[in-house]
């Protein structure tokens, strides 16, 4: 058993690609060796990455692949000679080398084992050439040909050592060797690796921590400590930990400061600038609020302890923050609504008008929703919030930091003295489940408007393609309705939205669906699908949603779910499962009976018929009233009262009685029974 080391050294690999590259290297290595007959267990493979190298260590490899004996079945010995000749050609054997087993020829071919080193020498170039990078490039003299090797950045060296022996191989002019390089600045010369055993430690001595997880830990702990030493607490950010580990071979977290005057800029802006542009962590003070500090991660152990590095980074951040403050002050110089005219130049999907027009539609629809469905009855604020919802997209800050859409609108609205409902509506509008009356009205209006416009153009998600995120819009609509317990007729809202959009002749002219009711029913099915997906995670059975949904006419999602949940609880009881069995039996009999011939008897033929009839007479109206009053548990109880009589009925009588009148009577009774059940849910949709 021998260990193998492979290092692929290159110029700086983008940090975001390193995790996938490690995965790819591991998979390709295992697959390639597997094809050659070497099975390597996953736990014997270690992969590491730094910005400048991808490394794989495979432990406990056998020194040779096992010899294999392959058996091929040939023609019968009685077959015509051509068949035998063909078989001999195929196997490369002569007739005397074949075995005759009960009149059938067999060829036994022995494949000797191969030295693992030889397998590796072939595997390495194949792995490198077949490697899948999200983006790759050509470079150097070789790139004069289109066939030249592609890699994420120029590949500069390969170390391949099996045990202590070099695995001789070459890819595009780069030959494997024992030499690699340490840290770019601390240790720029070549270093010689002896084997997998000394690799990591030799690199560590040359200021390279090759294990990315170790670097991540250094950054995680070091950044927290740098902050704590100054009486601050780090705002944890695992994404930044991983990114900085992908940018460094010798990470050194350092604390820097900025002018407290910048803290007047919203904390979201400071954090985003620091994080996205500079990859810095931010820190909180003892009061839990953002403080005037940051942690950057250097890639050197600087001679002066990092003073210059910190000074330089502070300068860069200060320049960025003064840019941000410039936008903040500029934006605040004008009330939010003065940005509305600028939305005219910002177009939605072609033929759907401008953002300014959308703002108008959101405003009208949000006002209407507030009026119709929210007990607060504050349509004026909803209209105002809807109108301002998109205004921040025209501000300088959001132009610079699109991620801050909504958040900035909230700040600007607050400074402009808008009502708290408006401020909250603007802040929350891009959140999945929007809470509160005004925010919900605006979010629902915004998303339903989007859905109505695209569905009216027959642009819908297909398979995995959903370029306009319509599934998300529907899901967020559902989440917002449910989180607020908003009782609304979704179909009516969609119709209203479509009607509002149609008032704009240019937009209406591009629509393929002009009938609002047809559009609403189409969209409602889409919502139903999303609801099933969304509720699955909450443990709600999709077949039960179907069972209620197919009854039709239900577009109040809150009520629909209440009914589904009561049904699910019922189906978990013995009464429920038995009733379902009874229902299925009844439905089957009815299906097989087809057209009922003859006149039904006027009175119950037996006691069992009479009991069922009496039970139905009680349960039917009870269930109907309970459903109408939205007492769904009571509706289920009414159904439960049918269980004993239906069981007794099937036990005691034969539906297909020879007497036509009796048969017709019983079929009628069963039809009434299934009808009563359908008053609550369509049990034919229920699985089990």
């Amino acid at each position: 058993m021998t260990d193998f080391l492979l290092e692929l050294r290159s110029e700086e690999i983008p940090a975001r690609m390193q995790a996938n590259a490690r995965f790819e290297l591991r998979e390709r290595f295992s697959d390639t060796l597997h094809e050659a007959g070497l099975v390597v267990s996953d736990s014997d493979i270690t992969v590491w990455s730094t910005p400048r190298r991808l490394t794989l260590i495979a432990r406990n490899l056998p020194d040779a692949t096992a010899a294999v004996s392959e058996e091929l079945k040939g023609p019968r010995s009685s077959a015509p000679p051509q068949a035998l000749e063909g078989f001999l050609r195929k196997t490369g054997l002569t007739q005397d080398q074949l075995e005759d087993r009960d009149g059938v020829y067999f060829a036994v071919i022995d494949k000797p084992g191969r030295a693992t080193a030889a397998v590796l020498a072939e595997a390495i170039p194949a792995i490198v050439r077949g490697f899948a990078w999200p983006k790759s490039m050509r470079w150097g003299k070789e790139s004069a040909s289109s066939e030249s090797l592609r890699w994420v950045r120029p590949l500069s060296g390969i170390v391949a050592i099996f045990g202590e022996e070099l695995v001789p191989c070459e890819v595009s002019g780069i030959s494997a060797g024992f030499a690699t390089r340490g840290h770019r600045f601390h240790c720029p010369g070549e270093i010689t690796i002896g084997s997998a055993a000394d690799y990591a430690e030799k690199l560590r001595a040359c200021h390279v921590i090759v294990d990315h997880e170790e670097r991540q830990a250094i950054i995680r702990d070091g950044a927290a400590k740098a902050a704590a030493d100054a009486g601050l607490s780090l705002v944890e950010d695992e994404g930044l930990v991983i990114e900085n580990a992908g940018l460094t071979e010798w990470p050194v977290p350092l604390l820097g400061r900025f002018d407290t005057a910048f803290l007047e800029v919203p904390p979201e802006v400071i954090q985003l600038t620091a994080r996205v542009n500079q990859k810095y962590f931010v820190v909180n003070g003892a009061d839990g609020k953002l403080a005037n500090g940051f942690v950057c991660t250097a890639n050197i152990d600087a001679k002066d302890g990092g003073k210059e590095v910190v000074a330089g980074n502070q300068k860069v951040l200060a320049a960025r923050l003064s840019d941000a403050r410039f936008f903040w002050e500029q934006d605040l110089a004008h009330p939010l609504e003065t940005y509305l005219p600028k939305l005219e130049a910002m177009l939605l999907y072609e033929g759907m008008g401008s953002l300014r027009e959308k703002a108008e539609r959101i405003s009208i629809l949000a006002g209407w929703i507030a009026e119709q469905y929210f007990p607060e009855r504050d349509p004026d604020t909803a209209r105002r919030a809807g109108l301002l919802a998109k205004a921040d997209l025209a501000t300088g800050m959001v132009g610079e930091f699109p991620e801050l859409q909504g958040v900035m609108g909230g700040y600007y609205a607050e400074r402009g003295g808008e009502k708290p409902g408006t401020v909250s509506a603007l802040q929350q509008q891009y959140v999945a489940a929007v809470e509160g009356c005004i925010p919900a009205c605006v979010a629902l209006a915004d998303r339903i408007d989007t859905l109505a416009l695209f569905f009216a153009r027959n642009i819908k998600p297909t398979g995995s393609r959903d370029p306009f995120a319509l599934r998300r819009a529907a899901l967020q609509t559902i989440q917002t309705i449910l989180v607020n317990d908003t009782r609304l007729n979704l179909k009516r809202v969609v119709e209203k939205s479509h009607e509002i959009a149609k008032r704009n002749a240019a937009i209406a002219g591009n629509m393929q669906v002009s009938d609002s009711a047809a559009l609403a029913s189409d969209l409602l099915d889409f919502f139903a699908d999303r609801l099933k997906v969304q509720q699955r995670e909450a443990g709600v059975r999709h077949d039960l949603i179907d069972a209620v949904f197919v009854l039709g006419g239900e577009d109040d999602l809150v009520r629909l779910l209440a009914r589904v949940k009561a049904l699910q609880a019922f189906m978990a009881t013995e009464d429920g499962t038995n009733l379902l069995a009874g229902y299925k039996r009844a439905a089957n009999i009815l299906k097989q009976a087809g057209e009922v011939s003859g006149t039904a008897a006027a009175t119950p033929p037996t006691e069992a018929d009479a009991t069922l009839l009496a039970a139905l007479d009680t349960a039917e109206p009870a269930a109907a009233t309970a459903v109408a009053d939205e007492r769904f548990t009571d509706a289920m109880a009414a159904l439960a009262s049918l269980r004993a009589p239906i069981d007794a009925f099937f036990e005691g009588v034969m539906v297909n009685d020879p007497d036509e009148a009796v048969r017709a009577y019983r079929l009628g009774l069963l039809a009434r029974f299934t009808g009563a059940v359908h008053g609550v849910a369509d049990f034919s949709k229920i699985e089990g």
Binding site: M137, R138, G140, S145, K303, D304, G312, N313, K315
Partner: protein, 307 residues
Amino acid sequence: MAEADAKHPLSFQDMILTLHRYWSARGCAILQPYDMRVGAGTFHPATTLRSLGPEPWNVAYVQPSRRPTDGRYGENPNRLQHYYQYQVILKPSPADLQEQYLGSLAAIGIDPLLHDIRFVEDDWESPTLGAWGLGWEVWCDGMEVTQFTYFQQMGGFDCKPVAGELTYGLERLAMYIQNVDNVYDLRFSDAVGDVAAVSYGDVFLENERQFSKWNFEVADTDALFAGFKAAEAECNRAIEAGVPLAAYDQAIEASHLFNLLQARGVISVQERANYMARVRDLAKGSCKAWIDSQSERWTVQYPGWTL
């Protein structure tokens, strides 16, 4: 000429001279700036056209670059509508390009054990040149000081072989080296005897004021539109006539006029894409004409080379 020294950092001009000497010693022809208004050093035909084809090509030059919309009337310490890029093109890209580049930073006084130099992913794309490449922005203590790119395509054509392009932002680098917060405070030249030092502001502050005003407020938009059309027509005529270098000049001209029209705020969002596509067509057409005019020679001199 002064040497880099921590106590007396290089003046702006000495930094340029140091880079010239550094790259000259590595075999680069030191070219002069192209005599037209361009947005970046990449527009110089020594980069755009010469990065095409199989011939080795190693040059370095300073290119004054104009970005009309970046003008701030001389009031912003970091933003200029006219600034300098230092451009190095090495074709084919040498295996030690990164080391050569880091050597140039050391030459102008940046100690990599005192300052944190990093190569951070940044892929380059120029929609108006139909060009793209992979590389990094080089950070010095968190500040971007150079764009480092391996050209993959230019004018829509594969670069065979690939050229390495280094674009230094000279003002930023100088501000870093000289440790000043305002670009106008940069020492442009040093005092010599009775002759006083000159600051960047002495040379350019008034230019920034006047050109910002002209770019944003004064430039005659009718004349700019007419100029754009004229350049477009002339570019196509020159392509027809088989003089791609002259055609490319007109593509550069059209590109700059488009930038000025943007600064004047007369190009709407919808029109913008259309104008960019027109400029790209001119640039691509010029690149194609350049290839057409050279490829016979290239195939003879570089057997096996294909487009």
